[in-house]
């Protein structure tokens, strides 16, 4: 279980994180061996081409988004992904989240190779171990902040009362205790991103991926959100993709990407 600042006993309605992962691993028997216990994410010679079998853009033109990318992120580490648009930052986040299966190579999440799992199992692993923070928040405008935060728990069949309780606890944690009933449209950009961070944390994930988390925010609000992200990132693996130097400055290490390849890995 990730050692986040939230008391795990508050989230005990459903087995989460590593425990759930073990279930998947034992069910598939495909856990890789020799993986460091603290390695949360490992990419081995990952190549991804859009327009090929792994892509979905169609057409004859093949665009190589990633080429032989290898990198690892340890639990408790914040890794920044830097590089210009189209360099492959988002594609790495998507492969780590299991939202995309690369054309070649392996993507291990806590020792399990996501590329060998079915779509259903990847979705399950993502729900239990990954928290995603989007640049544009992607909150459901029809739901209150509390209901948005509680959404990932719906799939696990967590009862309504427990969902509400968890969501309120997390909203309090991100400083929005007085905004739980507000719709996203009634919140500022910074507040919406805080709701999105609370939603990413609701399943107590081991890995947080954030794609330009401050891209839509002004400098001061962005700094607050980064503080929050680094705070909750302790004892989790955090991957942050950004163009912004201020955002990348919170990272323990920055991996620079260019044309789908790692140009520098700031170890």
């Amino acid at each position: 279980m990730a050692a986040c600042a939230i008391d795990p006993s508050e989230l005990n309605a459903e087995p989460m994180s590593n425990h759930a992962l073990e279930q998947v691993v034992s069910a598939t028997g495909q856990a890789s061996t020799g993986t460091e216990p603290t390695t949360a994410v490992r990419l081995e010679t990952v190549t991804h081409e859009y327009g090929s079998s792994g892509g979905h853009t169609g057409g004859d033109r093949v665009v190589t988004a990633l080429q032989n990318v290898s990198m690892a992120v340890q639990l408790g580490e914040i890794v920044g992904l830097a590089g210009p648009s189209g360099s492959g930052k988002s594609t790495i986040l998507h492969t780590v989240s299991g939202l995309l299966v690369p054309t070649d190579g392996s993507v291990e999440l806590l020792g399990t190779d996501l590329t060998t799992l079915s779509d259903r199992r990847r979705t399950r692993l993502r729900r239990q171990h990954i928290g995603i923070v989007f640049q544009r928040f992607h909150l459901l405008p029809s739901l209150s902040a509390r209901a948005n935060v509680a959404l990932p728990l719906v799939q696990a069949g967590v009862p309504t009362a427990t969902r509400r309780e968890r969501a309120e606890t997390l909203l309090e944690r991100v400083g929005l205790a007085d905004r739980t009933g507000h719709l996203p449209g009634e919140l500022s950009g910074g507040e919406r991103q805080r709701v999105a961070i609370a939603r990413a944390l609701v399943t107590d994930p081991d890995v947080i991926v954030a794609d330009e988390p401050t891209g839509e925010l002004d400098t001061a609000t962005g700094a607050d959100v980064l503080d929050l992200l680094t705070d909750i990132g302790r004892n989790r693996a955090v991957l942050v993709a950004s163009h912004d130097d201020a955002t990348l400055s919170v990272a323990d290490r920055v991996v620079e990407l260019r044309d789908g390849q790692v140009s520098t890995d700031g170890r």
């Binding site: 939202l99 995309l100 990954i130 544009r136 739901l143 719906v154 799939q155 009862p159 309504t160 794609d211």
Partner: protein, 415 residues
């Protein structure tokens, strides 16, 4: 435990679906309206298809005759000037003498000219019959009854006058309105403009009885009067001879006997007559079938398109839900529940509007082409309409939701 989780998930899916519907009340209302239109297209088009076929059948069923004797071609609307059966009163009398026949009578049809002013006549159809009956459903006045009864053998030529004797007519309501005449007034009638001025008939009643299965305005006139006007008294021409069989007799057996006795005529039971008429009118059948087919296909295509759009409009939300770990089933369920709710509301609205619109369209059709109740909406038509809205709506919404879940990828989250 898993059942409980499924129940919790289902409840959440329903809540999500309602939240999405509430989010854009205007869009939801428009979607419901679109389903209403799809249902209406099904109920009204199918109702029209049913009505087209039914109108022909009803005409014969209302006539309440078991046996129809005719001479091809069978096309009452076109053979009005033909009247191929010669000596029809004699044939009717001979047939009536049979033990298995309770009554038989000839029917003649002619195109005639009619009007209150001998210089301003309208062309219409006249049906010559011996008497009117309760089935005429008179809007005003009553019918006529001629003295000569073919069933009693009073059919010899000398018993029938070569000039009209009753001079009574039952007008179709449209004709009466067009001529601006009412019961008690007189009209000129003839088979040509020139002869019309020679014969004046008194309007005794107004009814659309024959119009309903001829498909055009038709007036009822005593048969012998019509023959006299048409100059066919001597040849005694008729279009049909209709007969009722005695209780206990099998119409099919009677048909076979009559067929053997009158080999030059076509003898049919009433069911066969319906089929024969439709064989002569493939266009009617084709139109009816096409309308029903169009109703189905059109309704389904409209519904599929609609819910594909509903899912498409929510692709960003679906992509986000998918990214945070909700399964495709939950996404499909969310869209599916929306489909069910929209289908239910749109379906009920469509069914509620169907009878009103059907009545309006029937009035329009009746005033333009003379068919009454051409658009018929039996319970089955309502059932089909609701099934389309609910079943197709829900299934298509589920399918498009499921599909949207697959394609709800990251490009929707990046932009």
């Amino acid at each position: 435990m898993s059942l409980r989780r499924a129940a919790i998930r289902t409840k959440a899916v329903v809540g999500l679906a309602f939240a999405q519907l509430r989010r854009s009340p205007g869009r939801t209302a428009l979607t419901v309206l679109a389903v209403t239109l799809a249902v209406l297209s099904v109920t009204l088009l199918a109702g029209l298809g049913v009505g087209v076929v039914q109108t022909g059948e009803d005409g014969l069923e209302n006539a309440n005759r078991d046996i129809w004797i005719s001479s091809d071609p069978i096309d009452p609307s076109a053979s009005g000037t033909e009247n191929p059966i010669v000596g029809s009163h004699g044939v009717s009398a001979d047939i009536t003498e049979r033990e298995d026949i309770s009554s038989a009578s000839p029917i003649a049809m002619h195109d005639v000219y009619l009007g209150t002013d001998e210089d301003d006549l309208v062309r219409t159809s006249a049906v010559g019959v011996h008497e009117t009956h309760d089935g005429f459903d008179f809007e005003a006045g009553s019918g006529f009854e001629t003295e000569i009864n073919a069933s009693d053998g009073e059919h010899l030529e000398h018993q029938r006058a070569s000039e009209p004797t009753s001079e009574e007519i039952v007008l179709d309501p449209n004709t009466a309105e067009r001529l601006d005449v009412s019961v008690g007034e007189t009209v000129y009638l003839g088979t040509s403009r020139e002869t019309a001025r020679d014969h004046e008939f008194t309007v005794v009643g107004i009814a659309a009885y024959y119009s309903q299965y001829l498909g055009s305005d038709a007036e009822a006139v005593p048969l012998t009067d019509l023959q006299a006007v048409a100059g066919t008294t001597r040849t005694d021409r008729a279009t049909f001879i209709t007969a009722s069989v005695d209780d206990g007799s099998d119409p099919a057996v009677v048909r076979d006997d009559l067929s053997a006795a009158y080999p030059t005529y076509d003898v049919r039971t009433s069911d066969e007559q319906v089929s024969a008429m439709f064989e002569e009118r493939p266009l009617v059948l084709a139109s009816g079938a096409t309308l029903v087919g169009l109703a189905f296909v059109g309704g389904i295509v409209l519904t599929i398109n609609l819910f594909a759009l509903v899912a498409y409009q929510q692709r960003d939300e679906l992509a986000a839900l998918r990214a945070i770990g909700l399964s495709r089933w939950v996404l499909a369920g969310t869209i599916g529940v929306q489909g069910f709710v929209i289908g239910l509301l749109g379906g009920l609205a469509g069914l509620a509007a169907t009878p009103l619109l059907a009545r309006g369209l029937n009035l329009l059709v009746s005033s333009v082409v003379g068919f009454d109740s051409l658009l018929q909406t039996p319970l089955e038509v309502y059932g089909i309409g609701l099934a389309l809205a609910l079943v197709v709506g829900t299934v298509v919404a589920l399918a498009t939701g499921w599909r949207a879940g697959r394609y709800a990828r990251l490009e929707h989250l990046e932009g």
